[in-house]
Symmetry: C2
Subunit: 362 residues, 2 copies
């Protein structure tokens, strides 16, 4: 069992990584002196893992009142209406200020549970048990919570750090291949945002990663969690360097929103978004054609879609203007200055349109 | 113009008190480098003061994009549905991370605007311009935000401090007498929670306060803001001493919830709640009959109702069990150990029922 600590003073917390990490939950709830617990999950993950989570709790705390809220699965349900479902569950089981919510699921469940926990009685504790590769390598760490509004992705939310993240790679066995690939998109991002050695490792091992070969999964999850923990420590509230974790995400948000949330998986949109960021970076003179092909090849070998959906360029531009990184209508992109080196900058709209046109957005 | 600072490290902010404080808003928005502004108000306050606020902004920042959201007036609209109305306004005017929300109204508007600001893009800045006595002496300071759920008052919310509080007593002139009395309830609370000298001042001046005599208003507002600022500094997130600000509020929440939000003004319920807290404290052997009469007399002289509504005692007890101060079903009351001295403690249910019965709750 590996443990990394996200160092945030009194909000510091451990990421525990390894087979059997899930079974540590009972111990963790004793440490937190939880009075009651609410497990938040979805219709896909619940039937697979709620029993295992309940056993983990009951083996140590047989009397603890535990409720379960099961939401429909998918990004299209990541909204305030479904936050209210979690709050209804909190009312029903009678959560108080010393109670704990458990996020059992992928990125959507983690974001929503964290947001609900941050507002219930003005903030209670929560524990992340990520069950997708994407959540294990990225979204479960760092305390960003939120839901979508019709006007944009994650437009509302909070910074609310979990009390611990229990990353158990054994739960990935039931993950569909499409979800594995979506998770690899965020893994690939960790390479291109600042680590050429990790890109090389992925170029050699991406096929084994897609097959969920345990030692490759363990290495990749540990690497991404360690990097994320370092970045979050430097910049908890995304005043600066943390924005680099948004590589590929500006274009991705336009894809997700204009296709209708849920049609494209978040990781799929991020994969294509990185290809577009690479194209944009070439037009700005930072990358050459070989660099761009290297990005494209790794996205493709990850099993991700490499053909963009047909979108209206002006509509996409407007979505990107409403991105949270934008200030006074100026979009800020994460550009690649070289392979494995990123920057944050505003880009003239003509170049952005050229990239969009090249991907068939007119 | 008087200024107190709420000392909270990097979240410190000024409370500016005096006639014309409202006109400082333009200057304040320059200091905050606001890119856009959304004013949140209600149907009662908006027609009276939005123009004055807009003039204050435009005199310094004629080009700044400003939106206005006007909500229906009253506690019964303090819910997530109306938070969404504020968020719709934020989308429409295109608020970004550097934009600012303005709460122009009483406690309900302040709590809702603060909550919306805390979630928009995971938290933007907001400025409080309280327009009721209750908001000026209490709710606009301290960063507690939130809305009600059907299950209870302020069950969801956040701690999100304003960037400044502009307290302009001149706006109280339009306040109905009933709202003035509701505000005085919170003023009286500041006496009984820990300041016998202030109780004596109020016993001498409560009639002048009800008449909004400027020097009395100025003194009372300044006193309450100073005390609140000190308490919030000691205990921002209500781990301890801040809970004393809830004197009378546990019974009050039961009154507000079981009567239907909006029927009793919050301050009216707090006035009666303090009488019940005094009765409870007498039964516990802390106060004598004369002390209780002193509490009752000051509540009555404030123009507040002193007859309790007919409530079901068991239902009221259950509401109080779901109060945020409760842990594992044990209600924590703010009791009066003496006149001007409070404590926080659990009280046996039999004594609580005796108090409820004495007020006609059976």
């Amino acid at each position: 069992m590996l443990t990394y600590t996200v160092e945030l003073g009194e909000r510091s917390y451990p990421i525990v990584i390894g087979e059997g990490a899930l079974e540590l939950l009972g111990e963790e709830l004793i440490r937190l002196q939880a009075t009651r617990v609410l497990i938040c999950t979805n219709t896909t993950v619940g039937p697979l893992y709620v029993k295992r989570v309940l056993d983990a709790i009951r083996s140590r705390l047989p009397e603890l009142p535990v409720g379960v809220v099961t939401l429909p699965d998918g990004e299209s349900y990541k909204n305030l209406e479904h936050i209210e479902k979690i709050l209804d569950g909190a009312v029903e089981i009678g959560l108080d200020r010393r109670s704990v919510m458990i996020a059992l699921g992928g990125g959507v469940i983690g974001d929503m549970t964290g947001f609900a926990a941050s507002m219930w009685m003005r903030g209670i504790e929560f524990v992340q048990i990520p069950t997708t590769l994407l959540a294990q390598v990225d979204s479960s760490v760092g305390g960003k919570t939120g839901v979508n509004l019709p006007a944009g992705k994650n437009l509302i939310g909070s910074f609310h750090q979990p009390k611990s993240v229990l990353v158990d790679p054994s739960v990935l066995k039931t993950l569909p291949a499409r979800e594995v690939s979506a998770g690899i998109a965020e893994v690939v991002k960790y390479g291109f945002l600042g680590d050429e050695a990790f890109i090389e490792y992925l170029e050699e091992n991406v096929d084994l990663l897609r097959q969920l070969k345990p030692d490759v999964v363990a290495r990749v999850v540990a690497h991404c969690c360690r990097v994320k923990a370092q970045i979050v420590k430097q910049d908890e509230k995304e005043g600066g360097v943390r924005a680099k974790l948004n590589l590929g995400h500006t274009f991705a948000h336009a894809i997700e929103k204009l296709s209708g949330y849920g049609l494209w998986l978040h990781g799929e949109a991020v994969g294509l978004g990185m290809m577009m960021a690479a194209d944009l970076s070439r037009r700005l003179g930072y990358l050459d054609e070989d660099d761009v092909q290297r990005v494209n090849a790794l996205v493709e070998r990850s099993g991700l879609p490499v053909s963009a959906p047909k979108l209206d360029a002006e509509a996409a531009y407007r979505v990107m203007q409403s991105d949270k990184k934008s200030v006074a209508g100026e979009i800020r992109f994460i550009t690649m200055k070289a392979v494995g080196e990123c920057d944050i900058e505003t880009v003239d709209s003509r170049t952005v349109y050229e990239t969009m046109n090249a991907f068939g957005w007119n």
